[in-house]
Amino acid sequence: MTSEARPPFPPPVPTEDNQPFWDALREGRLVVQECAECAHLVHPPRPMCPECGSFEKGWREMSGRGEVYSYVVTHQAIHPSFSGHTPYATALVRLEEGPLLTTNLTDIAHDEIAIGMPVQVEFVAIGDGITLPLFRRA
């Protein structure tokens, strides 16, 4: 899936709490928020660690490897601007480090997607300085 072929999904609006996640993607790195106190991985990023209550955090680089945990295929265009863009698939990928990430699969036909399928991150720039972490067959 090239960025031009993507359906007109809303781009992410980064905030103070998750800006480093988006900055790293632009540099071709997938990072997940890691608690500086207890090393718990938190995704999506949030201000406080739910394990220990710390506000101190770092960002751990992920290997980019994972597997399909669940997926849906949207057939109905929920808005007229999506006509011609359906069906499209959205997947949850379980990173090998643990976190679940919502994403799209770039090179896998809808009827070939299966839970447990190994996948590998790929970085797709969509404009306005935003890069998304999408996944392809590993």
Partner: protein, 378 residues
């Protein structure tokens, strides 16, 4: 130890408008028509109301409702910032207020032009344009409530072996109930399991007939003390238990909120799920009826599919009839309100698909985000 709420409060009146695709009326008018009907049902004058509660992303504020009813002193009000699934939770809040003496006559209401106005199915109510937490879902095409729910449904199918065909028996059973209910949107229109399986995919694994309706309409409940309810027009529906649970945020897309609510809900009720006579369950999507049956403990995990396929939720011969008015799939999508009303009718003996000798009537309004057990007054 019994809960201080147990059987201290009753739902004394219920009311609804007609259900349609285009009401031609404001949401305020729909709410007020339903409230008036519920107060008439109970035999209580509008100005006696001193508590108002709703949940909304619409235009029916408590202050404006109070002005219409002629309420002089509004003692208790509040709504919960959540899309649709908190109706039974508000019953818990209202009951607590009545037991604590903070209010005497509390009306819970919902008025919505869910079809002709802003549509949930198009993300027009819940879409966040990539802001907040949606920055991690919407850019990948998860745009409506059904998208995240379909993700859970797929994972549970994988975990427990439940099939789309089994989900179809939820839709078929509810349609049978709707055929007995003249208020239902699909009154007079039958549905077969083949119709379900052949219907187009909306968000795979959801077929068209797995998805709830979008409805214009209003509904309301009137709550008073159990003592007061005994002298009113209708047989009281006593509130045996009522509670709510928040979404689990770090979830694995398997457990519903019912998994965390169930132990404390049944403890509060001092009732086992097997003792329940009839259930109304929040069927925004048919698979979630199966998941609720499992997570509330009516059946074991993995047994919900075979249970519905075997006719377990049918009014005709089922051991636990579910969504006996037709539910959100076939009666109307009033975000739990129509099911709260149906739950009351069952303990009154007034349902169009009445369960014989109904003592305990269960209502879920969000697969765990709100639950209610009603008991017939002896």
């Amino acid at each position: 130890m019994p809960s201080p709420l147990t059987n201290r409060v009753a739902i004394a009146g219920v009311g609804e408008t007609d259900y349609s695709r285009e009401s031609g009326r404001s949401e305020m008018m729909l709410a007020l028509q339903a409230i008036k009907a519920a107060l008439d049902d109970a035999g209580i004058a509008p100005a006696e109301v001193d508590g108002l509660m709703t949940w909304r992303v619409d235009n029916t504020s408590e202050a404006e409702i109070a002005a219409n009813l002629g309420v002089k002193d509004l003692a208790w009000f509040g709504d919960i910032n959540q899309a649709g699934n908190v109706g039974a939770a508000l019953v818990a809040h209202a009951s607590a207020a009545i037991v604590a003496g903070l209010a005497n006559v509390v009306v819970i209401y919902r008025g919505m032009n869910g079809r002709s106005g802003a549509r949930y199915g198009r993300g027009e109510v819940t879409g966040r344009r990539g802001q907040g937490g949606s920055a991690f879902t919407e850019p990948f095409g998860l745009l409506t409530p059904q998208h995240g729910l379909a993700m859970t449904a797929r994972r549970r199918m994988h975990e427990f072996g439940t099939t789309s065909r089994q989900f179809g028996y939820v839709a078929v059973s509810e349609r049978e109930h709707a055929l007995r209910n003249p208020r239902a949107t699909f009154y007079g229109k039958s549905l077969s399991i083949e119709d379900h399986q052949e219907s187009r995919l909306i968000v795979d694994p959801f077929h068209l007939y797995d998805c709830c309706l979008e409805t214009d309409g209003g509904g309301a409940l009137v709550l008073v003390s159990a003592e007061r309810a005994r002298d009113l027009r209708q047989p009281p529906a006593l509130i045996r238990a009522a509670a709510q649970a928040g979404y689990a945020r770090d979830r694995e897309f398997i457990d519903t909120a019912a998994a965390s609510l169930a132990p404390r809900f049944w403890a509060q009720a001092e009732v086992a799920p097997s003792e329940v006579d009839v259930a109304q369950i929040y069927d925004h999507f048919a698979p979630f009826v199966v998941f609720a049956l499992e997570d509330y403990g009516f059946v074991e995990r993995g047994q919900g599919g075979p249970f519905v396929e075997g006719g377990g939720i049918r009014a005709e011969g089922g051991t636990l009839p579910v969504n006996t008015s037709g539910g959100h799939l076939s009666e109307a999508y009033l975000q739990g309100m129509n099911q709260l009303i149906e739950g009351v009718r069952q303990v009154r003996g007034q349902s169009t698909a009445q369960v014989a000798d109904c003592h305990l009537s269960f209502v879920d309004t969000g697969i765990g985000t709100g639950a209610l057990l009603l008991e017939r007054a002896s």
